[in-house]
Subunit: 376 residues, 2 copies
C-alpha cells in the first residue's frame, strides 16, 4: 500500500516561474491528495517554491525527485533539458508519464526518444503562458488559466499517459491542444517566437537611438506593452534560436514583408486602403478576443470539466497500474497475501471522493475569479 501511494507522486524538476506556477496551479486545481515533490539546482528557487506551497517536498537531486513519481514534469530551461532527461532516465518508475514545458518540441521529442527507457511514456508539453519576470517567487496559480497548452505525445505514449498529462493541463486551468511537434514549432514561430524577436528589435532600435533620453521621457503604454517581451529571459530566446531557427527566420521575413506592405501604402498615400486594413484588423482582433478559434478538446477525448480533468489525470496515471493489479495473476505468478487483500480500486474511489468534495469549492472559486479575469 505504501509503495503504491509513493508511486503516485508528481515530480517537478525545475522550479522557475513555470515549474513553481504548475505546482501552485495543481494545488489550486484541487490536487490535495497527491504529494508534489520538487527539485531545482538553485537553493533560492527551492526555498521560494516551498515557501509558496508549490511543492510539498524537496528532493536533493533529480533522481530522488522522480523515483516515486507517476508523473514527471521537466520545467527546466530548454538548453538543460537534454541533460535532465539523461539524469532522470535510470530512476523513472515503470509506466511513469514524463512531460516538459519547453518552447519548442521537435528537438525535445528527439532527445526524449533517445534518453528515456521504453518503459515510460513521454508527452511533450508547452503551456502558452508566462510572463517576462522569471523565478519561482513570481509564480502564480492562475498563470495557465484559459491558456492553450500544447501537447505532443510521442508515438509510443500510452493512452493512460496521454490522459494523465492532458488531465494535468486541464487541472491547471489550461486548454489542452494536441498537435505534432513539427506543427507546434511552426505555430510557435509565428505566434510566439517571431513576436518575441519583433518586441526586442523594437526596444533595441529605440533604446539605442541618439534621442533615447527624449524618447524614454515621453514613452507611453504603447511602447511599454510592445517591448514587454524584451524583458524576458535571453536564455529562453537562445533555446528557441537553437531549436527552431528555420521557422523563425521564415516568419521574420514575412513580418518584414508585412511592415513593408504597410509602409508602401503609407508612402503612396493609399490611406483609404490602409484604413480598410486597419478596420479589418480591429474587427478581427475583437472577434479573436471574444471568440478565439479552438481545437476542441472534445475532438481529443479530453475533458474540459475541471473535476473530471482531475480524475483523468490521477486515474490516467494510475490506470495501468490499477488495471494490472485488478487482472487475475498470470499462470505461475503468485499474488502476495497483502496484494490479494488490497482493495484495488480504493485509490480511484478515494480520488473520486476528494474530487466531489473539491468540486463545489472549485466552482465557487472559479466564478469569483472570472469576474476579475481580463488578460489584456
Amino acid at each position: 500500500m505504501n509503495e503504491q501511494r509513493n508511486a503516485g507522486e508528481i515530480a517537478i524538476i525545475g522550479l522557475g516561474l513555470i515549474g513553481a506556477s504548475l505546482g501552485l496551479a495543481l494545488k489550486a486545481g484541487g490536487l490535495t491528495d497527491t504529494p508534489i515533490v520538487g527539485h531545482d539546482t538553485s537553493g533560492k528557487a527551492l526555498g521560494a517554491a516551498k515557501k509558496l506551497g508549490a511543492v510539498d517536498r524537496i528532493a536533493d537531486n533529480a533522481a530522488d525527485a522522480v523515483k516515486s513519481a507517476a508523473i514527471v514534469i521537466l520545467a527546466v530551461p530548454i538548453m538543460n533539458l537534454r541533460q535532465s532527461l539523461g539524469e532522470i532516465a535510470p530512476h523513472l518508475n515503470e509506466g511513469a508519464a514524463v512531460t516538459d514545458t519547453a518552447s519548442t518540441k521537435t528537438e525535445v521529442m528527439r532527445w526524449a526518444a533517445e534518453a528515456l527507457p521504453a518503459t515510460v511514456d513521454f508527452v511533450g508539453g508547452h503551456p502558452m503562458a508566462g510572463k517576462e519576470t522569471p523565478g519561482a517567487e513570481q509564480a502564480e496559480a492562475t498563470l495557465f488559466r484559459g491558456r492553450p497548452y500544447c501537447l505532443c505525445p510521442s508515438l509510443t505514449a500510452s493512452p493512460g499517459a496521454i490522459k494523465a498529462v492532458s488531465g494535468l493541463a486541464a487541472v491547471v486551468g489550461a486548454n489542452p491542444v494536441f498537435m505534432d511537434a513539427e506543427e507546434h514549432d511552426q505555430y510557435a514561430a509565428a505566434i510566439s517566437h517571431m513576436p518575441l524577436m519583433t518586441s526586442t528589435a523594437l526596444f533595441s532600435l529605440i533604446r539605442n537611438s541618439a534621442s533615447w533620453d527624449d524618447f524614454g521621457a515621453v514613452a507611453g503604454p504603447a511602447f511599454k506593452d510592445m517591448t514587454r517581451l524584451a524583458s524576458g529571459d535571453p536564455a529562453l530566446a537562445l533555446g528557441i534560436w537553437r531549436t527552431n531557427r528555420e521557422a523563425l527566420i521564415h516568419w521574420m521575413d514575412r513580418m518584414i514583408g508585412e511592415i513593408g506592405r504597410f509602409r508602401e501604402m503609407l508612402k503612396d498615400a493609399q490611406d483609404e486602403k490602409l484604413l480598410e486594413v486597419f478596420t479589418q484588423a480591429q474587427v478581427q482582433r475583437d472577434e479573436f478576443l471574444l471568440d478565439p478559434p479552438v481545437r476542441m478538446p472534445e475532438d481529443t477525448g479530453v475533458s474540459v470539466d475541471k473535476g473530471k480533468a482531475l480524475m483523468d489525470m490521477l486515474i490516467g496515471a494510475k490506470l495501468a497500474d490499477n488495471l494490472r493489479r485488478a487482472m487475475p495473476p498470470e499462470p505461475g505468478e503468485k499474488m502476495t497475501k497483502a496484494e490479494a487483500a488490497e482493495p484495488r480500486i480504493s485509490m480511484v474511489d478515494r480520488v473520486a471522493e476528494g474530487v466531489r468534495k473539491d468540486l463545489e469549492k472549485m466552482e465557487a472559486e472559479e466564478a469569483a475569479k472570472e469576474t476579475r479575469g481580463d488578460e489584456l
Copy 2:
C-alpha cells in the same frame, strides 16, 4: 461676482475615452470647486460622461460649452479638430487657455494659429495615455497617472495659460513635458505611431495566414499583448498618417532594418552576438522601467506637487484676469462701484483654501492607489 465665477469653468469638447477620463481625473485630482462643462455630438457619450461624473454640466453645442470657460480642452478626433477650433473661436473668453489632446502636433499648432483669435492662448497637448477600447464608458480617473503629458505652447501663449495647462496635466496625475511641435511628432512617430503600425502589421499577417485557425487556437499572451494596438480606433491611425506621414515612414524603415539585422544574426548562427543584444535589451528595459529618463518638470518651472499643481492650474487660468482687476484703473477708465467693492483676490484665496482641504484626502488616496499600481 457671478460673471467672474462663470468665466472660471473648464470646458471639455469631445467626451470619448480621453475627454471623459480627463474630466474624471480632474475631479479625482481635487478639482471640486470648478464646474466642468462637456459637449459631444454623440448623445451616448454625453450620457455616459454625465453618468460617470466626468462633467458637471452638458452643453448643447461647442459654442455654449466654451462661453464661460477659462480653460478649453478639445478632446475630439484629430480629423475633426480643425473644424472644432473654427466652431469655438468666436465664442471664447478673452484670455482663455485652449488645449487639445491629439496624437500629432505640428499640423494642430498651424490650425490653431489660423483659427483662434489673438485674445486666447493655445497650448497643444498630448497625454501619452490611452487604451484600445474607446468611448466615455471606458473612461478612468487614473488613465494619466504617471504618464508623460507632452505640451507644445504656441509662440504667443501667455505664462498664465502655460501654467494653467501644465497645471491641468499635473492635476490629472501626469508629468508635463514641454517640447516643440516638430520635436513632438518625431518622438511620437518613434515610440507611439511606428509601434502601432508594427502591432497591426503583426496581427494582420498572422490573422490572414492560411493557418489562422490553428495559430489562433494556440496564441498566448505574447501574441495578445503584441497585437493589442491593432484593436485601436482606425480613425486615430488615419489622423496620424495624414499629419505625421514622413516621420512615420522613416521609423518604419528603421524598424524593418532592425528586424532584418536580427534575422541576419540568426541566419548566420551568430547566436552569441544575438544573445548579447538580447541580454543588453533585457537589462536596459528593466532599467527603463525602474528609472525612466525624465525631462524634469523643475526645468520648466512646473510643480510636481499635486496640490501646488492644482493651484497652478486654477491660479494660472485666473491670473491675468485677477491681475488686471487688481491694477489701478487706467486714466480715464472708471471702476464701477461693484468692481471697487469686490475683494479681488478672493477667488485665489478660496481656491487655496479648497486645495488645503483636499490635499490630505488626496495624499491618502494616492498612497492607497500606489499599492495596486502595476501598469505592465
